[in-house]
Symmetry: C2
């Protein structure tokens, strides 16, 4: 007998039939003797509709009222799923964030969970009751409803699993696990049976959309075993686990790509101390997230500084750079949105050498020019022209021996 948190996203509860399907999945775990708590998202489309209402009324809406409005989507699903579970004989009960409570800070619209009161839920589960908990929401210090930001239901589920000391947190979604890369562009992509927290974290942060980054961080910190699996197909998913649970580490576990980057190059900035700060402090103050940064070596007392940001931030980046032109002292700003970031991720990189050079050689053999390189302990990312995205991902997938046989 295990204690399991099951989380179902918006597509999985998108209509009445799908909610019934979810109820059958939950019942199966209950019938197998497990203690189960469920976390649900809003029915797909509902959150967008509610956000649309808020934006239509005022582009500068009060985030506290926005939270009061959008949090209702999850509450609806908790009640409906509880009814569906009772209809198949499972003793279920809905919980809004404030009823547990799920305490958060007061950063409305992107709140962080401070604590979850799990004792009462554990007692209920021990009596065979299935709590159905609204994801994505909590209650702030002033007893107002908060939301965690888009995709926050994954984080709710992992936090609940930690609070309940659950054996597993199963994230049901519309894909059946974590793949070596996007199966839509690489037919030979393989589903991974296991992946480490760190790899999953790097993959989530470089474009794999399976799990929200924050939920993986939290799972790693709290040692919650997370499984990603399909709501629709009845096949085993991918376990996200601690590194020591994986005996044979692949050099590269997965390959991700992101098409939403933009590259900015400041030509001929003075090569002197403080120049990086003069660029990146104003960008940070404007709440712009800078991803890759490369500074070439100096020639004639000036250097070229290149960095990438999310494409949607480009107009604001240009505005900041223009305002600070005198302070930075660049000759020219070059921007390019027609780029793609390709990343290879694997804990095996720590012990294997030559992982990065295989990447560079493979791309070079295909005639793909690398514009920017950035590395971390278990990841290498390169920026290439967007038109090479699929070619680069497929070539690397083969080069690292990831192709399914």
């Amino acid at each position: 007998m295990a204690r399991i948190v099951m989380k179902f996203g918006g597509t999985s509860v998108g209509d009445i039939d799908r909610i019934r399907n979810v109820a059958r999945r939950v019942k199966r775990e209950v019938d197998a003797g497990h203690e189960v708590a469920v976390v649900v998202s809003a029915m797909s489309g509902v959150t967008n509709q509610l956000v649309g209402y808020c934006e239509a009324l005022s582009p500068l809406y009060d985030a506290r009222e926005y939270d009061a409005v959008v949090a209702t989507g999850e509450q609806v699903t908790t009640g409906l799923l509880s009814i569906a579970l009772q209809a198949v004989g499972v003793n279920a009960r809905s919980f809004a964030g404030w009823q547990i409570p799920v305490r958060t800070d007061d950063a409305h619209g992107k709140a962080r969970i401070d604590s979850i009161e799990g004792a009462d839920l554990v007692l209920r589960m021990g009596r065979g009751e299935v709590p159905v908990v609204a994801g994505f929401q909590g209650v702030g210090p002033d007893d107002r409803v908060t939301t965690l930001g888009r995709g926050g239901s994954d984080t709710s589920a992992v936090a609940l699993a930690a609070a309940l000391r659950a054996d597993r947190c199963d994230i049901y979604t519309d894909v059946d696990g974590v793949y070596t890369t996007d199966p839509r562009i690489v037919a030979k992509a393989r589903k991974l049976n296991k992946i480490t927290y760190e790899e999953m974290l790097e993959l989530a942060s470089v474009g794999a959309k399976v799990l929200q980054t924050r939920s993986v961080e939290l799972a790693m910190k709290e040692k919650v075993r997370v499984q990603v699996l399909s709501s629709f197909a009845d096949v085993p998913g991918t376990m996200v686990v601690d590194e020591d649970e994986i005996v044979e580490k692949a050099m590269v576990a997965g390959i991700a790509y992101a098409r939403d980057e933009a590259k900015i190059t400041l030509r001929r900035v003075p090569d002197r101390p403080g120049i990086a700060a003069s660029v990146f402090v104003p960008l940070a103050e404007a709440n712009i997230n800078v991803d890759m940064i490369v500074q070439n070596i100096s020639a004639d007392g000036t250097t070229d500084l290149t960095f990438t940001v999310n494409r949607t931030d480009l107009p604001r980046v240009n505005a900041v750079l223009e305002e600070k032109a005198a302070a930075i002292g660049y000759a020219e700003v070059l921007t390019d949105s027609d780029v793609s970031k390709i990343s290879i991720v694997g804990v095996g990189m720590r012990s294997h050498t030559g992982v990065a050079s295989t990447m560079f050689r493979t791309l070079s053999e295909r005639g793909i020019n690398i514009q920017v390189i950035s590395t971390s302990e278990i990841k290498v990312s390169v920026l290439v022209a967007a038109e090479y995205t699929e070619l680069a991902v497929r070539a690397l997938h083969t080069a690292y021996g990831l192709d399914a046989v």
Copy 2:
């Protein structure tokens, strides 16, 4: 300066433009220096959709989960209206039932309000804040969300007005007041400037759909001055007030009709003590509301017993009567759904004689047969064939001098 509760129904907040319109109405009262609290319903259509989901999942849904689901409709409106109010410069804040709290009993789906904590709201209103409160909902003894039953937002508004000791409770709706009868069938119907609680109560209970019966009962008990007025047209409405505020009482204040009754006659039941109980106790136990009851005088030791129920209850009435056939001992059951109940209401009946006879004579002159009669202190109701509904209402409207000149 007055303290006002303004209540807006589903049609009045049916879309984004209408919510903006409501915000302007509220702002006008705030700008006039009044202290204002607002009570809102769900956007029209939303509650029906949510109820439909519950029923689709299980006809025998858990009323506690039903409440968790449907109460979200009002929460959405509170947040949206608060955003709209802030956009026009009004300091507004949403409140769900549990946040005030509005305490109710645990009769989920048709809960009754026990208490409303008004002190904090009064402080806020004194600081110029406008609380926007979710109607139709509260929180039960176990901190689960409850709803008051359909139309319950009127009751929420009146109860809030009582808790805040408001000078007035303005119920904004899609009609601009209480009329002498339904203007859709009597062109000469007049809007009343004032009507007494008791008349409003009788009119609401016999078919006038302007206010929910319970809200009028509560207003009468708590002496809350209620005004019914239009969200769309900018004209004075109808004040519902204490009898002593109306100097010149009309004999008949209004005429209502209800087409949703069904008539049942038990032929030749034994005329002995306990026979009425043998019929009506089982019906009450089946939760069937019996409206009019008539028992004719006895002939040959048997009598005919006639009563009316809501048409939708007819199949269940027949089932009960069949089950109890032996115990009751009737010869035959006759049912007729093709009937209409016409009622005249007026506190003037107390002091005027001949009010009922004017009704009977008027209908007789039009050749309309009266099937059942029932009376209360300030009301006379008759059952007639449904085809005579309009003719009867128009004739009575003229006979009692209600026609607009």
